[in-house]
Every structure is written in C-alpha cells, then in structure tokens.
Amino acid sequence: MLGTIVQQFVNGLTVGGIYALIALGYTMVYGVLRLINFAHGDLCIFGAYVGLVVLGSGAGSGHAQLLWLGAAFLVAAVVVAAAGVVLELTAYRPLRRADRLSAVVSALGASLFIENGIMLIWGPQLRVFPSNLLPSMHWTALGARIDLVQVLIIAGSAVLMAVLYWFVHHTRYGTAMRATASDQDAARLMGINVNRVIISVFLIGPAIGAIGGLFIGLYYRQVYFTMGWNYGLSAFIAAIIGGIGNIPGAMLGGVLLGLFNAFAAGFISSSWQEAITFALLIGILLVRPTGLLGERVAEKV
C-alpha cells in the first residue's frame, strides 16, 4: 500500500511538473494583459516538434547524445520564444485597446492557426520520439520506481520554477513586470516601458512552455498536432486552481493537479477521473474565487 501511494506521488509529480511549466505561460500573460492566451498550449507542443527535428537530425550515443538533447531544449526554447513574440505582435498588440472578447477570439484563432500549421509542416499522423535518447536507468525506493526521465522532468521543472521566481521577485526587471501586472498606467508613469515588459512575458512564457512540451515528448515519446489543446486545457485549469495571474500559484496548481489526477484515478475511479478533477476545481473556486494563491485584490486599491 505504501509502495502504491509513493508510486502515485511520483506519477503525479512528473506530470504535475509539466502542467506547472505550461501553466506559467498562461498566468504570466494573464498577469500583465488580463488575457487568456489560448494559443499557449499549441505553442508548447510546437516546441516538442522543434525539439524532435533537432533530435532527429543528430544520432549519437553517450556524451554526444546528451549534447544533442541540450541543443534540442535550447533550440526549442529559442524558436518558440520567437514564435511567442510574433504572436503578441500580430494577434494581440493590434487589439490592445479593443474589446476583451476580440482578444479572446483572436487567441482562439491563433490556436487553430498554430495547430493546423503543425499539421501542414509535420503531417496529421502521430510522430514518435527515438527510444534511446536517455540511458534507461531507474531507482527503487519505498516500493516505488522512478525513471531517469522522471527525475529529469521533476528536477528540471523545479529548477526552472525557482529561477523564474527569483527573477520575478529579486531583480529590477522582475519588479518592473510585477509593477506592470499591478497597474499598467501607473507603471508607465513610473517610466517603465510597458510594451517591452509585455514582449518579455511573451518571450519567457513560451520558452518555458516549449521545455514543458519537449518534456512531454521525452516522457511519452509520441506527439500529435492536436495535443496542445488537451495539455493547454489542463495547464489552464492548473493556473486557475493556483490563482491565475500569480506565478507561484501556477506552480502549485500544476503540481496539485498532477497529484490529484493520479490519486483520483488510482484510489477513487479511473472512469470518473475528469469529473472528480472538475469537481475539485469548482470546489476551490467556491471557497476561494481567486484560486489558492489568488492575487490579493486589496493590493490594487
């Protein structure tokens, strides 16, 4: 029994880490623009495809293999960050002063555009990652097994989130971001270049999301063009659970959602897993309408 509980914890933590990485993109954009970037999930999967191209072009073993893996993460992050900026400049900036609804529709359109773009470039069939990218190693503790790829995902997500937290809370630029999120007009009056802050949000969110997408590719080893929507939806829920707009909230929400899914499927009922997850979401929103670590509204007054 203990083994099963620990194993479910590992299962949940792995996928929760991925959810958290993707959720960060939703929450950062919402924080500064009050906009749900529905194209974010598709951007993350775009990252997985870009990584697959890099990994597919280089075959090797040992140290060379790890080098290619590093290159895949780097290239995926850079390409998807660039795509994020293009998205902001073409789909969102022209609608900055328009209705909130127009921006949402534009986001949905961008999502379809990216999804179908992936299909046109890489085809509608499912693509499979090579199986020998990482050495097949695993550890056993307390009756549970953890694979090298799971360790990589959990540790990688934790490090990325820690760096992002430090950046946002302990650097000058991070302070500017928080100021913009708090009140754009006041931030502008204080001499903060708001547009540059928004661009940086569209650089950082998709770059982290692309790494999450590549983690999905490495872990499950299959990608298909419509999966961005599924992962995007899960990550969006994670962001809401944690309190959308709040960066530590997205991290907490992602990990909690992964764990909750694992324990719901493992100990209650696999057929009711989704229903239980949404019931939890409704429950949290009833008790805390702004999410677990929701933005303290009072701060803005």
């Binding site: 479910q8 299962n11 949940g12 792995t14 097994r145 080893r221 299959q222 298909y224 499927a265």
Partner: protein, 382 residues
Amino acid sequence: MRPLRQSLLSVLLTAGVMAVGSAAQAATPIKIGVQAPITGQYANEGQGIADAVKLLVKQQNAKGGLLGHPLEVKVCDDQGEAAPAAICARQLVNDGVLAVIGSYTSGAALAAQPIYARANVIQTSDGTSDELTARGYKTFFRNAPPNSAEAIFTAGYFKAAGLNKIAVITDHSSFATGLADAVVADAKKEGIDVLDKAYINAGSQNYTPVLTKLAAMNPQAIYFSGYYTDGGLIKAQMAQLGMKAKFIGGDANQNVAFAKIAGNAAAGAIIINVPAPEDLPYPAAKEFLAQFKAAYGHQPPSIFTLTNADGLRAILYTAEKIKSVDPAKLIPALHELKDFEGLTGTFSWNAVGERTGSPYVAFEVMPGGAYKIIYPPSAAGK
C-alpha cells in the same frame, strides 16, 4: 421467315453439340452464384470474392467438376447495398444457382437472405453483423467470425495461457467499451478472475496512475481493448513501472506504430486479431495465395476474400462427402460441418449457420517489431 429458320437451325445445332458434349461430360453444369460489390466503394473486396470463386471453380473443374458435373460461375453486382442486393438475389435464383457466395457487406447479405431461403439456395457470406444468424434462415452460413467472436477467442486464449487473474483497460469509445465488456463477460464464463475494469481517456497519455492501481492487484495480464496509440504507451508505462503482467491488446492495437510507441518495451506484447492474408500460417492458405497471385497478379484485398473462398470450399467438400447436390440433403449436412480445415483456420457450422472456430490468432511482438503467432496451437510457430 429467315430468322425463324436460323434459330431453328441453331437450336438443332446446339442440341447436337450438347449431345456430343454430354457424351463426354455426362452431366449438366452446376451453377455457383457470386453476389458481391463489383462496383462502388467496396469494389476491390467484391472483385476479390468473384476472383477467388472463379479460381476455385476452375481448379474444381480441372479435377473433373463436382460429382461429375462441371461448375459454372454467375456473378451479380450488388454494389454492397440492400436494394440492388435483392435484385441480384432474384436474378441468381432465376439462374438456378445451387449456392451463392457473398455478399461482402452485412446489409446486402441481410436483404438477400429471405429470397435465397424461399428458393432453398445456400448462401454464405462474411457479413459480421450478429443479426445475420439471428433470423433463423436455414440456408444461411456465415464464413467469417461475427463481431462477438473476438471476445470469445480472447477469453479462450486467457484460459489456454493459464492467465487466471486479469485486469481490463478500455477507453470511452463505443468500439472499445463494447469489446471490453464482451471480453469481461466471456472471461468470467471461462472462470477467469477479472480484478478490475479501468477506464482511460484516449490520447491523454498519462496512464501510470491507472496502471499503478492495477499493479497493486497483481494481475497476470492486462487486457486493453482500445487503439494502438494508447496501447503502445500503456505497454511502455507498464515497463516503466516495473510491472510483470503481460500486455494483451485487442485488434485495434495491430499497427506498425505500436512497436515504435512502445519502444524498448514493445517486445513481449500480445495482440489478438484476424491475420492479414499474407500472415495466414496454414499451408493450404499459402498455396491458395500463390495461385491467386499467379492468376491475378496481386494479393487478395483482405482476409474476407479467403473466408468467402472457405465458404465455397466447405460447400464443395460437403457435397462430395455426401455425394449429393440436392439442397434438401446438402443444407442439413452443412449444419453438421465439423472441424473443416479452412484457409482461415479450422471451423464448423452450427445449427443457425454460425461459424464456430474463428480465424483469430494471438501474435507476440518480437524485438524489432515483427510478429510471431503463438496461439491457437494449430497456427503457432508457423
């Protein structure tokens, strides 16, 4: 007057030729009908059935025909649809056929059933709808496994392989849940302990929570009724969790991508499906396929070409055995057909004309992704 004289002349001439002919062959031809979609969306399947029947008839005639009578083929195109199927049935009955092979679709076979039944014409079709044998027509014989056969075969395999404790996983599609429910019911009939039936959301990729739960129950095998994209991942995640249970997948797991998705974990997976014609392990099937290829320059379009060929082969075999082509004797004899060695495996026909003994086989995935047949014993290792 000339036309009349000409026709009189031709009648006389024909009679003369026939008199000479019957002196050599001593009998009138026996007609075999083919009712199949020669045109339309299933045209290649229908043409495959017609080609197979023509080939078998040619071979039979080369051996001296059936009980001394030459065989003759009458083909009617039903386009795989009900209305033309009924027209075909009347036409073939008027042609005086002994038996009809086809049709390919259940719908076309259903529409023709009552017409053949009234005329006492034997009908053998691959239609898989369970309804075909539920209407009580004595003239109907199914030559392919019905939809319910896969689950029965799967439960039989569990028992034969000594898998007494199994867990079942399905996605929410009607196909997969239907198959899973049938497998659970048939496994219980075989006295197998079904520990749990778990659900996954197809495409959600994260199956470790469900698998961890099932692993704690220590099943000997996990049966998955859904599709290869999820099946390959389930096999991979079972290996990741260090599970010792066997993976057994339903027919939708047979796809080249299964082994790619499961990666290093693919080997040892077992998939249950009807084999493709070229994978049929039986020597008679290999010989027939070679003859078919030599005659037509291509492989049969699907296994159903061969099950229809089996329908005709079983009728010819039974007629020769009882030395009669009288439907009143042949039809009861066909209902008692036992352990006929078909191209698609050994089968029998029961009182309602259902094929018992299915062409299903269990494959094991080898390292490298190739398949090896491991069950039933008559097919294994070939």
